[in-house]
Symmetry: C2
Subunit: 262 residues, 2 copies
């Protein structure tokens, strides 16, 4: 049974890409077959895994825009690349994805394009992770329409807390109209800095609003996580003993446990 998770939050800079890449690496490390789909035109997940977003072709853009009906259209498996991590594959993004939201306005099935594409490769993977851009537009809607669950990174600060209401409402709308199986897999507290009171206050607030929905694992603020992408490496190979690496390892184990309990 393949599990598909979107990693999303319209608030910018909360750790979506860092979570998608690091969690993907540790799930592969635990012998899961993992596919990471980069649905962000910034293509940060693509470059964090060592690929050049300006030259990679085809990318997820080609699959979304062509759709399955055009002759000679690319399938999702045409885009799949192996990464330096055994068991972690990538569907890369590219800058032209930025135009997809407007280009797809007149298209049929525009919210279901990614779900249809993913269904052609589903059996090859245990887990599929989808990195989302910082918006609630069509790319994020495609991601949560394709997914079984959404993992919501929440930076331990005030402004990221504020936007959760709009995100939950969008998730509810997608569940009603496009994807009845969509659930909130969990909220993941990120960039936790024990030296500030604010961080603990935010964690307590989120736990109060979303009882039973917050991952036990908390990701600390750890500079090694922000250094790894500049080497095109995940934290698993860049600094496996760092606090950031150990936290994402714990998160992978917690997610696997949750899946087994289902």
């Amino acid at each position: 049974m393949t599990h598909i998770y979107a990693i999303g939050n319209q608030k910018g800079g909360v750790g979506k890409t860092t979570t998608a890449v690091s969690l993907g690496a540790y799930l592969a490390h635990r012998q899961k077959q993992v596919l990471l789909v980069d649905m962000d035109p910034q293509a940060n997940a693509t470059s964090s895994l060592g690929f050049d977003k300006y030259t990679v072709y085809p990318s997820v853009y080609n699959v979304l825009i062509d759709g399955s009906e055009k002759a000679g259209a690319f399938s999702l498996s045409d885009c799949i690349r192996h990464t330096s991590i055994q068991g972690l594959d990538l569907v890369p993004s590219a800058p032209e994805l930025a135009g997809a939201e407007v280009e797809l306005v007149p298209a049929s099935e525009r919210e279901n394009r990614l779900r249809q594409a993913i269904s052609t490769v589903l059996m090859q993977y245990d887990i599929i992770l989808i990195d989302c851009p910082p918006s609630l537009g069509l790319l994020t809607v495609n991601a949560v329409t394709a997914a079984d669950g959404i993992i919501i990174p929440v930076q331990c600060e005030y402004l990221p807390l504020e936007g959760l209401g709009a995100l939950i409402r969008t998730i509810d709308l997608v569940r009603e109209r496009l994807n009845p199986r969509l659930e909130i897999t969990g909220l993941l507290m990120t960039m936790y800095d024990p030296r500030t009171n604010l961080a603990q206050q935010v964690v307590d607030e989120v736990r109060r609003h979303f009882p039973d929905k917050v991952f036990r694992t908390i990701i600390p603020r750890n500079v090694r996580l922000s250094e790894a992408p500049s080497f095109g490496q995940t934290i698993l190979t860049y600094d496996p003993q760092s606090r950031g690496a150990l936290a994402y390892q714990m998160l992978a184990d917690e997610l696997i446990q949750r899946e087994q309990a289902l």
Copy 2:
């Protein structure tokens, strides 16, 4: 002569809103008449200044969607609110702005809507700041089409550095097709943490790529900046002695000096 600055960068969480609100407060503190336009559907600038984005009406959304041709349409001055800071006014945002990108696809003059709206209030202000969402879509295009210059916050980390190329290309395109006077006012280094080597490496890299375009003022990482919005206050009233406050005060002075030199 009114100066209009867009504060933009499609990378999420780099300090766009914090800069718009803090810089706006210190420019007003220096006796400038300042208008802050919130062009982000997250409406973080609106809430950082103590307004409720769910009840504020009309908002910038109504001005953009109605345009000037509809009877009974709202003008920009219908939306202007005074804030708790003397000399700082706000045009608030609201969540329905998220739909504007798609709603404006068939509209005429869709990139010029904000420029046309701002031209009706120009004479009342010395400086107009526009807070942008984390994307290069129609809302950001409207902002840079209305502006004389763009201030680009760059977080002192690797991933934010990566996206600068795409942003510069978009600015060049807008200058060619929509707004010939658009220039890069400056790149502002934010969340500088002297304890990490990465921060200084990023600053050096940005200075090398963009000589003469990087503000001398560097904004340090300072938790007081992230606490202020939870009280609906700017750093000017929340903690004027903090390192974050002093840095934004210096930035306001540097910007005023640059304007006088023009």
